[in-house]
């Protein structure tokens, strides 16, 4: 589909390039990304003469090469293809000829409009960039038309653009964008370029093949962990397994016997081993006898963390939303109350944390990694080195799983600290899986408490209190206002149902010792889980069908009703099922999309959960690449179900007890049912999709288990002993 793209990966392999003896990281980096090169956005290396670069996203050169610069990073969510489709749509580019590039760090040019900095997260790439990208494309198109009209001395309104050409219909003349590049670069960008009527879309809404897939099926895709530099050393690290601990003593006697082990570096809080290759470094690390000074966290345990959370959550929180008169509402009606608790989770991206660094004589450095926050990596490393930001060159890569883990710059900072102990040689620091799992920023433990009062068969009063860590307060301090974490309460304040009297409270409780971070699905995961489980418990007590009960409280939510109706139909909702088989529903508003999911599951006598079928109906507004929406929901649901069934990081002696996939389990192919995703066509503004499946899976499965067994699970992960009757349910 994309000749230019094919050409770019058909170039000599990176290894041949290294063997050719070309020195210098920047040149090498030209071969690191799959899309042909990281350069300054408006400085194409191949042809600087007569290029048309009307904005940070688009470059067209005289040879007709159209380069689209990606402000958001590709971590599997298909965003490179969607962004290219939006730009090419309004630009009327020849889509088959476009080439994509990773954006360099530059908040001004590529900052996410939602955050003001370069961030790929919160399922908002399309939501935040929909208008800016369309405008960028339309502006460039208008300038190309203007240039052609001048050349022909005709009115621009008689000219039209398509497939990389401008045509004047009346005189039947055509000029390619390549031929117009020089002249268009002299045009002034129009102030408010007209955007296309969605009815005119040629690309948007039509399934397009992803740009990144070909290189990912033949091994040529380059992730951060694949960066290779001439003369590069390999390193692996171990930070204090007890959070906050320090290195006390390192005995490297045995490590010195490891062939290829070069150097042991003891830093304040971690030890690095340098080797000829990762294997030598890892074997060297394993052979070290490290004595740690565990510090004050050495006694922190899981029990203590939960006791702290429960004790703190009993205190008054901050009112985040108040509607009607909750106090009065609770004076009458039938009362309901439940508490839900969610565990720490690790990200476990398939590509372990890694970063390659070369320090420069000017005090700066060059960095290769895959990151969701390229400008933050640049800025935090510059601060560490005491240089200006421009002295830190960051090359972004395809990401082997982000899920929020790569919203942190820690892997870059650690790698730079290792590089500072070398003599200027480039070093690739790769974490072992064990290190990756034990030095994560964990999805926080949450405690969600809901009370409701029911009158006339409907919820008349609703009190919901969320207690947990505020990731926002650490990660984006200006967004943490008045003691309220807007992420943790996202779908508590923006929930689907017509509750006439509602109060949402937030209580910030930081767990002792354990660092917390964003995790795919973020705040809505805890909100939607608690709300949807609670609604099912109320429905059952009232002897109402879970979907009918939800619909009775959705008079103001036609889009919610529509996805519920669709998923009910597709899942054969209400049709009889066998013994210990149930269907569970989840309705969610998160990330600007309207999603209803039904999972059918069976629970055997041993408590084993068998996933039988998943149906999901989604109204995500205007959809750019429909197949991406389907893929993200299929995968996201599995991501969420993995957590529901197995996900739990536990702490003992101040350290994480899990280490690898044998004790932090993943769902595997033999457990996966059919997952059918049904898109509701809509002309509304685009919604987010990358995180939504992770949110949808757990409550739908939990409610299916509730329907199958009558057991209202209120903690995750799902406890098989409870389902088998060997243990009482936690309440």
């Amino acid at each position: 589909m994309n000749a230019t793209f094919k050409d770019s990966i058909a170039e000599p392999s990176r290894r041949a390039f290294i063997k050719g003896g070309v020195a210098g990281g920047f040149l090498l980096a030209f071969h690191v990304p799959v899309f042909g090169g990281i350069n300054e956005p408006n400085q194409p290396a191949d042809d600087t003469n007569g290029k048309f670069a009307p904005n940070a996203f688009i470059r067209i050169d005289k040879a007709g090469k159209t380069t689209l610069v990606m402000p958001q990073v590709e971590m599997g969510q298909g965003v490179y293809t969607s962004v290219a489709m939006i730009l090419a749509e309004e630009l009327d580019a020849d889509y088959s000829q476009v080439t994509l590039e990773h954006a360099p760090p530059n908040d001004k040019a590529y900052g996410n409009p939602t955050f003001g900095i370069q961030v790929t997260g919160n399922s908002n790439s399309i939501r935040a960039f929909w208008k800016p990208l369309r405008t960028a494309g339309a502006s460039a198109r208008a300038m190309l038309i203007q240039a052609a009209a001048k050349q022909w001395k005709v009115d621009p309104s008689g000219c039209a653009a398509s497939d990389g050409k401008v045509t004047h219909g009346a005189s039947n003349r055509t000029l390619s964008y390549a031929a117009l590049a020089d002249a268009a670069s002299k045009e002034t960008p129009p102030k408010d370029p007209p955007l296309k009527d969605p009815k005119q879309f040629k690309l948007i809404g039509k399934p397009q093949k992803r740009f990144d897939t070909p290189s990912k099926v033949d091994g040529s895709a380059v992730y951060g962990i694949d960066a290779m530099l001439p003369g590069m050393k390999f390193a692996t690290i171990m930070a204090s397994p007890v959070f906050g601990g320090k290195v006390s003593k390192v005995d490297d006697t045995a490590a010195k016997q490891i062939p290829g082990m070069q150097l042991v570096i003891a830093l304040d809080d971690m030890v690095a081993v340098i080797g000829d290759h990762f294997w030598a470094a890892k074997s060297g690390l394993d052979a070290l006898k490290i004595t740690w000074d565990h510090g004050p966290n050495a006694t922190v345990s899981n029990d203590a963390i939960w006791k702290h959370l429960r004790d703190e959550s009993a205190k008054d929180g901050v009112i985040a939303k108040s509607v009607g008169d909750v106090k009065k509402a609770f004076e009458s009606g039938e009362k309901f109350h439940a508490v839900y608790e969610l565990p720490f989770l690790a990200h476990a991206t398939m590509e372990p944390m890694n970063c390659t660094v070369q320090l420069k004589p000017d005090g700066g450095c060059e960095i290769w990694l895959g990151t969701q926050v390229i400008s933050r990596v640049q800025q935090t490393v510059a601060k560490l080195l005491g240089v200006s930001d421009d002295k830190v060159i960051v090359h972004n890569h395809l990401i082997g799983g982000g899920f929020g883990r790569r919203l942190e710059p820690d892997m870059a900072l650690k790698a730079v600290r290792v590089a500072q102990r070398l003599n200027g040689e480039p070093v690739k620091v790769v974490w072992s899986r064990e290190e990756d799992m034990r030095q994560d920023v964990y999805r926080p433990v949450y405690r969600d408490e809901i009370s409701a009062t029911v009158s006339d068969g409907k919820i008349a009063g609703w009190r919901y209190k969320i207690s947990g860590s505020s990731v926002i307060a650490r990660w984006l301090p200006p967004a943490f206002q008045k003691g309220i974490d807007i992420d943790s309460i996202d779908c508590a304040v923006d929930q689907p149902y017509d509750f006439p009297n509602l109060e949402v409270q937030y209580m910030r409780v930081e767990p002792p010792a354990v660092p917390t971070g964003f995790w795919r699905g973020v705040g809505p995961n805890n909100n939607v889980f608690a709300i949807e489980c609670f609604i099912d418990e109320v429905a059952k007590k009232l002897n109402k069908d879970p979907i009918a009960f939800r619909k009775s409280m959705l008079d103001k939510g036609p889009r919610f009703k529509a996805v519920l109706d669709l998923v009910a139909q597709k899942s054969a909702w209400g049709q009889p099922l066998g013994k210990r088989v149930g269907r569970g529903v989840c309705l969610q508003p998160a990330f600007g999309s309207f999603i209803a999911t039904v999972i059918e599951a069976e629970v055997d006598e041993q408590g084993e959960v068998l996933l039988r079928k998943v149906n999901c109906a989604v109204d995500a507004g205007i959809v750019v690449n429909p197949d991406t929406v389907v893929a993200q929901l299929q995968g996201g649901i599995i991501f969420g179900l993995t957590a529901a069934l197995y996900g739990e990081v536990t702490i003992d002696g101040g350290r994480v007890q899990q280490s690898n996939f044998h004790n932090y389990r993943m769902l595997r192919i033999d457990q996966i049912p059919s997952i059918d995703v049904h898109i509701v066509h809509s002309g509304e503004a685009p919604g987010g999709i990358g995180e939504t499946g992770a949110t949808a899976g757990p409550p739908a499965l939990r409610n299916a288990i509730f329907a199958a067994t009558g057991i209202p699970l209120r903690r995750l992960p799902i406890d098989l002993d409870v389902l088998a009757g060997r243990k009482q349910p936690w309440v």
Partner: protein
Amino acid sequence: MSQRQLKINGEDKTVDVPDNMPLLWVLRDVLGMTGTKYGCGIAQCGACTVHLDGRAIRSCQMPVSAVGSRAITTIEGIGKTPTGARIQKAWLDEEVVQCGYCQSGQIMSASALLATTPKPDDADINAAMAGNICRCGTYVRIRAAIKRAAEGEQPT
């Protein structure tokens, strides 16, 4: 440390590495063949899967000294085999891939399956592929792609 000959994707390579060094790191860090991925180092995830004489093995657990004269095939070379090429095409047609990091291993496991079991049923697919973790959850499409590759080109 000893010099040894390896036959990789039909080419002879000479490496000088410790005997107990896993093939994964010889491929990645010594030969620069980075298509084969490191995921867990304990044969739990399958990201490092390569073929020895056509059989799928986890290269993170295969000491280089145990390879012997067996032919090594990696993701960089699998497209030259008929089943590998069919699998890769099916992966494209089904648009299987998301982040892609595990997919080298998935494709190596799937092509080994197809070479011995031209028409795998669901149980065959489960048995051959359950050792390969995909964190993005592309399993539904992996199954569909294997079936598509097994059936040849499907009418669209």
